[in-house]
């Protein structure tokens, strides 16, 4: 009988805390949203599975190598977190290699002024950064490192958020990463009301000429110039920017189709599996049931919304000086969230005027947003770390 009681005491069921139970439900909701609504399924499904796995008690799945008696005791997700994110931090740059191999800089090169919108939309990062500092001043445990990690959520770029949080504030990595991906998944709900609020009906109807054809030489020169210029100024952004441009050069060179295919398919998919599962496993009940997490959730939304509004207003400002007006809806795509934010710009534009075709134009600020947030992450690491 004693053996039976001992066995029951060692089961996960006997050790299940109510908070773990809630987190398991949250994980199941993520899985549901990914499968039923196809909300960012490549992110939310593995994150949801990671949340469920990490919140099952006594598994040791997330035991870090440093916490265990030896490497044999470390959990698989602990090892993945340690080497993939916190210690080596190699997974976000690998994701950037794949994204680079999938990115077409053609629309940006055809209309370079749209790059500026990608910078303007980064204003959300700094508003959330100051908001987090203020929250820290009020007594929450946010120092300048945590504030930078929270602010970067406004860049709406999951890998960049993870890259920066892993460097500066690994304790809040899981929370910031999931919030960043959750808001990226929710762009279709967050952005359109703001887009309609901060633009006039007449502005939303502006038609833009189709972008010009871009030569292969231009497509080859751009990633090289960007690689050298950005890394010379912000060397700490090199892991992200270098991998991004290398992936893009694979694509544009046209001579290494197997490498392009591997980077944009197999490597990207493998890295996505490990990254998202690991992020999900960081969302344990002890970390999530905390006032700080709720504040980060709010600040992330502020960051994302302010980035969207910043892009829209800057596009309107540009129109005061441009002879050939741009549709300000493309400004909201500057928050990254590639390519969803560009698609939202296109859809809202088509609602206002079915003749507008904004997708290629919105890809400019969208790609610029990726570069802009990676640059700001590099600045944060340079000056804060």
């Amino acid at each position: 009988m004693q053996e039976l009681l001992d066995f029951i005491a060692t089961t996960g069921l006997a050790n299940l805390d109510w908070r773990n139970g809630i987190m398991i439900v949250v994980g199941l909701v993520f899985i549901y949203l990914a499968i039923r609504n196809e909300w960012e399924p490549y992110e939310l499904l593995p994150i949801g599975l990671g949340i469920v796995a990490a919140n099952l008690p006594l598994t040791g799945l997330i035991t870090l190598p440093s916490q265990s008696a030896g490497f044999q005791e470390a959990g698989i997700f602990g090892v993945l977190f340690h080497y993939g994110l916190s210690f080596w931090n190699i997974l976000p740059p690998i994701i950037f290699l794949g994204i680079g191999a999938l990115t077409d800089f053609g629309p940006v090169i055809a209309n370079p002024k749209t790059l500026i919108l990608g910078a303007a939309a980064q204003v959300g990062i700094f508003i959330a950064f100051w908001g987090a500092l203020f929250a820290g001043y009020l007594g929450l445990g946010f120092g300048i490192k945590e504030a930078a990690s929270i602010g970067i959520i406004g860049g709406a770029d999951g890998p960049t958020t993870i890259f920066l949080s892993a460097r500066l504030a690994p304790d809040i990595l899981g929370v910031t990463a999931v919030i960043a991906y959750s808001y990226m998944a929710a762009v279709a709900f967050i952005q359109p009301p703001l887009m309609k609020l901060f633009t006039t009906a007449k502005e939303r109807q502006i038609e833009m000429k189709p972008p010009r054809a871009v030569s292969k030489l231009e497509k080859l020169v751009f990633p090289n110039v960007a690689l050298i210029a950005i890394i010379l100024i912000v060397p700490k952004s090199a892991p992200l920017i270098a991998m991004f441009m290398i992936g893009n050069l694979f694509r544009e060179s046209g001579v290494v189709p197997r490498l392009t295919s591997a980077a944009s398919n197999e490597i990207l998919n493998i890295a996505t599996i490990f990254l998202m599962l690991t992020v999900g496993t960081q969302l344990t009940a002890e970390r999530v049931f905390d006032l700080e997490t709720i504040v980060i959730l709010g600040l992330g939304l502020v960051a994302f919304s302010c980035g969207t509004v910043g892009g829209l207003l800057f596009a309107r400002l540009m129109n005061l000086f441009l002879k050939e007006k741009i549709n300000p809806l493309i400004g909201s795509a500057g928050v990254s969230a590639v390519p969803m934010a560009a698609r939202i710009s296109h859809h809202v534009g088509q609602e206002a005027n079915p003749k507008t075709f904004l997708l290629p134009h919105a890809m400019g600020p969208n790609v610029a947003g990726v570069i802009g947030s990676a640059v700001i992450a590099g600045v944060f690491i340079s000056l804060v770390n």
Binding site: I116, V375, L383
Partner: protein, 71 residues
Amino acid sequence: MIQAAYLTAIGMGTAFGLLLVLISSMVVTKVIANRIDRVSSPNTFDENEENIRRATAAAVAVSILKAKATE
């Protein structure tokens, strides 16, 4: 607070500055690419034929106008 203010200024300034550098590089590359295309891409057979036809038509038109003027 002072560090945060510097971070904000440097972060936004760097993002805008670098993107302006990239815009400049794109403009320069476009000009160079256009020149190289003009120099390096010889006319195709069809383009040469079209040019010969246009030159012939122009010569005929000029000769007709000249003949009319002397009448």
